[in-house]
Amino acid sequence: MSALTAHRERPTKEKIGVFVCHCGRNIATTVDTKRVVEEILKHPAVVHAEDYDYVCSSPGQELIEKAIKEKRLTGFIVAACSPSLHETTFREVAERTGLNPYKCEIANIREQDSWVHEDKEKATEKAIKLTKSAVEKVIRNEELEPIKVGLYKKALVIGGGIAGIRAALDIADAGFPVVLVEKGSTIGGHMAKLAETFPTLDCASCILTPLMSAVAHHSNIRLLTLSEIMDVEGYLGNFHVRIKKNPRYVDPEKCNLCNDCVDICPVTVSSEFDEGLSLRKAIYIPFPQAVPSSYLIDLDACLGMNPITCGKCAEPDICGPEAVNFDDQTEIIEEDIGVIVVATGYELYNPENIGEYGADKYLDVITSLQFERLLSPSGPAVGIPKRPSDEKIPKRIAFIHCVGSRDERHQPYCSHICCTYSAKHALLFKELVPDADIYSFYIDIRAVGKNYEDFIRRVQEEAGVHYIRGKVSRIYEQDGKVKIFGVDTLLNKRIEIEVDMAVLALSMVPAHGIEDLASKMRIQIDGSGFLQELHPKLHPVESATSGIFLAGAAQSPKDIQDTVAQASAAASKALGILTQEKISHIPTVATVDTDLCSGCRLCISVCPYGAIKLIDEKAEVKEVLCEGCGACVSTCPSDAISLRNHTDEQVSSMLKALVGEI
């Protein structure tokens, strides 16, 4: 650490401090921080400069506080990482030391300098220029106060799987109203389909159904099933949401679950809940513990919309309580919302995309979710999996890992849960059929949760499952057997085995329609199609749009434990906003000089936030919507718009510093 102080005549009243961070080796390897300190001290406004290992740490922050007090600084620069990381941190230091937070600026000498250059000499020159340019800006910064607005103290949770349920309950339990919107006819999501959960082998229903029931009975939760988000307008604290609620054709208030309608219904179609392994009627309840606890009519399958054709279930001698209502209509529901949690979950990759495994052709090549249904005590096989082709209990099963995952032709990412659930499948099956021969084809075992490794070891050693390291190249059925070609990369041998059934651990992909929803809410999608968090470590449950939080497999493939943890995290972030009386918005927004504005409307067309409106033929910025991007500023032909603390004068002096004129 070196602290130097300049003793020179200064033409400005501003007294600026500069703190140059080493960021461990991240910056110091490529940038000579001592030289940056020496050079920046030559700037007439800089009265103090020093470098330190980690300026963001507690001792680092104390250095700033000390300098502000001792040198009576009017502003300071931290030359360090991107402002998206620690601008807030350092502005809080300013605030608690009595400086206006907007008198702190960041010079990014990491992402924009040390990380992208190798030549230390030139990188140091660049660091000096970047820092100087930040000094030029900060001496011209106005002291600003955050914009305060009121908020609706109500949350919207989108998706009724375990993530949405957990987040909704956490917020509702804290005393705030929640609107829970689910696209399907029941909440519960994929977890409701599972038999038992790894690594403890708890029964999934025993964990989930009480939570579903709690949602149903919670006085703070308004549950909207068969519902979709139409559009979302507004901003943090003040969202206006329109929800389309599709008709159920059965009134859940009246329905008493007598099952008479199901008995009389003449139409059978394949059951989505049982992943196509069983049949259901056109009027049905997905599973007995569904919430809301009521039947519904599948309009695509039902004959009865024309009462002459069928309509049997609506007859009074069948439906005593007169719950069946063919006149049920689509409803548009509008809600004013303060915060939103998006928990739209995942779906399995379509096995038809993997032609070499033939899941679309062969009955006994099934998906892992189908196997889960076969294992479930309430599933189509009543507890002992039978193969779909001939209903015989299979004696030889192969589990294939990474089907569509870690594969550049399909999904490049790891789906995170398949290794452990395939082990669980093998173990549960072995318990039911002890003389079974089980093969598990894997690339690597990735069992990264707490106690997962022990669980895998138990399956390998105690249950005697044959683990074979290598990809499967082809699966086909011949002579009533499922044949598998693969390779054992440990023995360096080609493998051809015959089994009775093959189970594909398909990759997790984002739920259908996620892109559409994301664009309605102005949240980002990552390269794999999942929802993008703002920062993986600093803001793991926040989206880039303030007030919208992410939870569960919609953000990345994850297991139930991580999903629940993330849901609670999203709920606590949401509560952090709901418990405030006012919310703050950045004051560095666009302002219009109405004398110069000609009312041309160009700014309105470029504003990505819809923050500008024409009032009396003049542009007016709705400050709370403005994110300070500057698109309107550069578009305005009359120079009527400027951005607070980013004025033309500031930009021009910053440029001068960058090109070496200052």
Partner: protein, 291 residues
């Protein structure tokens, strides 16, 4: 319809019946195959094994001859029959279309011929049929091969590798174009899981045991699906499968024929099948009346 035709070596030597049956079928379908004058060897294995542009010169010289001939007859479509020729020509043409520097190098080097302007389209005959439309093809069939069960065999070179993008004529893992052809001529495609398995390829030269091991499995799979014939698009695969048949008892064999021979038969033109084979097929479809 006039199209340029690149035969390749196998069709002129080992398997003239592949070419002759194609000509017969094309005449019936109104497709005029115009053989490229002075075509060169496509380059085969050496050109597959390296990125060196020099290895592709044989193919480019053929392209230039095709380009000049194409100007006369007004087409830029080059059709091939041999799978290996298809793969090599398609790849080289894609490289020349996508990489301007390679194209310039090649054109600078070939100073005794006009420059190649990469506007030719290389298609396999199966794709040409697909573009004509299998429904339309169906209307032209005079001897529908009803009751004949046919195992569609693809081999590798029509489907792999997908580099540069655009080489495969169909989904590499689960192709269906030959099945569609089989249906359009009235026969039934066998569900044939070995349809894209390797035949052993050039191992036939030094390690015929590998080819025998592979082809026995392929033929055995066709047999257990009760296929009457295996339909092949590839001269080398056909050679290897026929070699496999020779190592099997007669009762375990499944005859291997070219897809164009069955097409010609169903179109009522000369199939260039052996008399024995043709009679066997006609007997199977209850078509003695056609004999």
């Amino acid at each position: 319809m006039e199209v340029l035709y690149y035969p390749g070596c196998s069709l002129k030597n080992t398997y003239p019946e592949f070419e002759k049956s194609t000509y017969a079928a094309c005449e019936k379908l109104g497709i005029n195959l115009v053989e490229i004058p002075e075509w060169n060897c496509c380059g085969v294995v050496p050109s597959l094994a390296t990125d060196n542009v020099m290895r592709h010169l044989g193919a480019v010289r053929s392209f230039i001859n095709a380009q000049e001939k194409g100007k006369e007859i007004g087409t830029n479509v080059v059709v091939t029959l041999c799978s290996m020729c298809y793969n090599v020509l398609k790849r080289v043409n894609l490289i020349l279309k996508e990489q301007a520097d390679v194209l310039k190098n090649v054109n600078d080097f070939i100073d005794d011929q006009p420059d190649y302007v990469p506007e030719l389209e290389i298609v396999h005959f199966l794709n040409l049929l697909k573009n004509v439309g299998f429904d339309k093809l169906k209307e032209r069939i005079v001897i529908p091969l009803r009751g004949l069960k046919v195992a569609p065999y693809y081999g590798c070179a029509l489907l792999r590798p997908d580099r540069p993008k655009g080489v495969p004529i169909d989904d590499p893992e689960n192709p269906t174009v030959i099945e569609n052809l089989i249906r359009s001529i009235g026969a039934e495609p066998a569900e044939f899981p070995f349809k894209t398995e390797c035949c052993g390829n050039y191992h036939i030269v030094f390690e015929p045991g590998i080819v025998e091991m592979r082809t026995k499995k392929i033929i055995g799979s066709a047999r257990s699906e009760k296929a009457d014939v295996i339909l092949s698009p590839c001269p080398l695969c056909t050679y290897n499968l026929q070699h496999g048949n020779e190592t099997l008892d007669r009762s375990e064999q499944v005859p291997v024929i070219f897809f164009t021979q069955l097409l010609a038969l169903s179109l009522g033109v000369k199939s260039h099948l052996s008399t024995e084979m043709e009679n066997q097929i006609l007997k199977k479809i209850g078509g003695e009346k056609f004999v």
